[in-house]
């Protein structure tokens, strides 16, 4: 559990972070979203003490971070930045081994851990491991950066715009990988981004920042359905809020008993995907598959549309 207690950071008298109090649950992914200069990076960097708060405290599992020597604290916290910051004179494998080496793990254990992580992140250890960073593609370098951050099994991972430099296709893949790895390992993640779509896609909770303050801290569905301030609404973009909401909810939630003609909707489909399929194939009822791939019911068009409205939204 991460607790920010009235944390502020002043630069030349100006607050980059202004009296922020937040509690982040263990094992969740919190997306911090906001425009450039809103203090996201400063807030993130106060967790691993790359920035010292001017006032307030940051606690990890109840312990004040200020009481732990910075180097020791940081070895327990993964850190990923946009430019990857890979050490250019080391191979990908050696980069990944950085923190285990600092911690003095036995060599064989480090080697095994590097292989394991590369496999988790779908990097071929034999092909990619010996390469220097300049020999990696953007997506590969980014994954090596994530592997390096996870090497010493940190319970907490800090990510500062980790996907900002990737093209849209690779970014989608990287986001999906992060979600998978985070669930698999149960890591607590704080992810900074200026992209609300990314925050909605990845965050269990979203903290919207503006001028050093938290404007809203809530689950994605709640943020979309009920933006707390005009700024949050602006950040969401008015136009496609309904689709955003529909892309968050699984279609299976509104399945009814019964049967329908035509190809089945896959088990994990969202409401948005169900609607798109209906429009594309000219059907108003779709059979939907369960986890075992067999039909478990039908999804009706008016139910999809009704579900796309926010709970407290316009009737």
């Amino acid at each position: 559990m991460i607790e920010f207690q009235s944390v502020s950071k002043l630069y030349d008298g100006l607050a980059a972070v202004d009296d922020v109090s937040l509690t982040l649950e263990r094992g969740t992914l919190t997306a911090v979203v906001g425009t450039s200069g809103s203090g996201k990076s400063t807030l993130l960097r106060m967790v691993n003490r790359l920035v010292e708060p001017t006032s307030g405290r940051v606690l990890i599992d109840g312990a004040d971070t200020a009481s732990v020597p910075p180097a020791q604290l940081r070895r327990r916290i993964g850190y990923v930045i946009q430019d990857t910051g890979l050490f250019p004179h080391w191979s990908a494998a050696r980069n990944i081994a950085t923190v285990p080496e600092l911690l003095g793990w036995p060599k064989a254990q480090i080697r095994a851990r590097v292989r394991e992580l590369m496999e988790v992140l779908q990097l071929d250890p034999d092909a990619i491991g010996p390469r220097r960073p300049h020999e990696l593609s953007g997506g590969q370098a980014q994954r090596v950066g994530v592997a390096r951050a996870l090497a010493a099994r940190p319970a907490l991972l800090l990510m500062d715009e980790p996907f900002g430099a990737l093209d849209p296709v690779i970014r989608g893949q990287a986001q999906a990988d992060l979600r998978r790895v985070q669930r698999q390992l149960g890591t607590t993640v704080i992810l900074v981004t200026h992209d609300m779509a990314e925050a909605i896609r990845l965050g269990d909770r979203i903290a919207v920042m503006r001028e050093g303050r938290i404007e809203q801290f809530a689950a994605p569905a709640e943020i979309i359905a009920a933006p707390a301030t005009p700024f949050v609404a602006d950040l969401l973009g008015e136009g496609d809020r309904a689709f955003r909401l529909m892309s968050l909810r699984p279609a299976r939630e509104i399945a009814e008993p019964g049967a329908a003609e035509g190809p089945m909707l896959p088990a994990g489909s969202s409401l948005a995907e169900a609607l798109a399929e209906m429009i594309w194939t000219g059907r108003d009822r779709l059979p939907i598959a369960g986890p075992d791939g067999r039909a478990v019911g039908v999804v009706r068009r008016d139910a999809v549309i009704r579900a796309g409205r926010p709970e407290a939204g316009p009737e």
């Binding site: 691993n48 604290l73 930045i81 990857t84 910051g85 250019p88 600092l102 390096r148």
Partner: protein, 378 residues
């Protein structure tokens, strides 16, 4: 590009018309030119011209750098061998006091063949290890030529024979001056550079002061050091016993050291401040302590720039150590200045040639070493 370097083939052919050797009645007499035919005889000169013609024709048509190298190296070696044989031939029916040295034609042909060789080498784009190999091969070849005795009749070699003990002694002093002052400058300059990289405010004043030192001409700096070092020798107990004096080795050593500092300190600062921001940020974020970051990240990444400075400084020191002879520091400069005093060209060469060779080899080795560093640019 090949067309442009081929221009060199024209003066290379023309160099055959210039005097190949110089004949002196004794070691300080004025030189008389000797043509290729006079030096090598009709048969020898014909063979030499035929070989030169073949080499030029080959270099006109061959593009492959390795083959061009295969022509340039034998060309260079045969030039030197021809000089050695020619000197022996001319010396055979001359009085013992007579001296035979290389003439303008030889020097020009040697330079041009050398340029063609370097061009072919550059085109091969050898890796660092291959470059080290070439440097070692060149040293071995020169060693072999000198040791074989074919050059024994050349005037420079006669100068060497008459003072071989002094040659090696001064060579040792030259190395000590150039490399010793370099070593001390590295030991002081790199930590100073590290400190300045961390303290931007001190950077300008310190680098400014070191730049000011560079602008002092070397002879003036030697002169300026005579008084303070003389005072130290006279007043600091034990200093004189350590060899510290107003003239001699000490002021030359200190002067070279002072000249070395600017490139080393400036490049250390540039190398360290050139480490990408994201890399230092990641290093800090991973939990590397300041010292760990310095040794594992900052210094390896700055090393190519620091080694570049080391190369500049060593070449500069090897050259400048010659001037130290003026204040009694010894080194190869001793022969140069003695030679100037006696108007004995060969003695000047005895000091100058090893200096040039030393600078050349040092530069090549450090250049290759820079390429072997893990932080070298890809």
């Amino acid at each position: 590009m090949r067309g442009r370097i081929s221009i060199l083939l024209v003066p290379l052919a023309a160099s055959a018309l210039l005097p190949f050797a110089v004949f002196r009645a004794n070691r300080i007499a004025a030189g008389e030119p000797r043509s290729l035919i006079e030096t090598l005889g009709t048969a020898g000169a014909s063979a030499a011209l035929l070989a030169l013609g073949l080499a030029i024709a080959a270099l006109m048509v061959i593009r492959q750098p390795l083959w061009r190298l295969g022509v340039a190296v034998p060309l260079l070696v045969s030039l030197v061998l021809a000089m050695g044989w020619g000197a022996a031939r001319l010396g055979a029916d001359a009085p013992t006091a007579a001296r035979i040295g290389p003439g303008a034609g030889f020097w020009i042909a040697l330079t041009l063949a050398g340029l063609l060789l370097i061009d072919a080498l550059a085109r091969l784009r050898p890796g660092p290890a291959a470059r080290l190999g070439f440097a070692a091969g060149a040293v071995a070849l020169v060693w072999l030529l000198l040791g074989s005795g074919v050059l024994a009749e050349l005037s420079v070699m006669e100068e060497y024979r008459s003072r071989s003990a002094a040659f090696w002694r001064e060579g040792g002093r030259h190395l000590w001056l150039a490399f010793g002052s370099f070593g001390v400058a590295m030991a002081a300059g790199v930590p100073l550079g590290i400190a300045l990289a961390r303290a931007p405010r001190l950077r300008q004043p310190v680098l400014g002061a070191l730049t000011a030192v560079q602008t002092i001409p070397s002879i003036a700096l030697f002169g300026m050091l005579i008084l303070p070092l003389g005072w130290v020798a006279a007043n600091l107990p034990g200093a004189a016993a350590l060899g510290i004096r107003g003239i001699g080795m000490a002021p030359a050593f200190v002067a070279l050291l002072l000249y070395s500092l600017l490139p080393i300190v400036a490049n250390t600062v540039a190398g360290l401040t050139g480490v990408p921001r994201s890399v230092t940020e990641a290093a800090d974020g991973m939990g590397l302590t300041r010292r760990e970051r310095l040794w594992r990240v900052d210094i390896p990444l700055a090393a190519p720039v620091i080694v570049a400075a080391a190369r500049i400084v060593l070449v500069q020191n090897i050259g400048m150590a010659t001037v130290g002879a003026l204040i009694g520091a010894g080194g190869f400069g001793t022969f140069v200045f003695q030679g100037i005093g006696q108007t004995a060209t060969d003695l000047i060469l005895l000091g100058a040639l090893p200096t040039v060779a030393l600078a050349f080899v040092t530069s090549a080795v450090l250049d290759a070493a820079a390429g072997l560093l893990p932080g070298a640019a890809p």
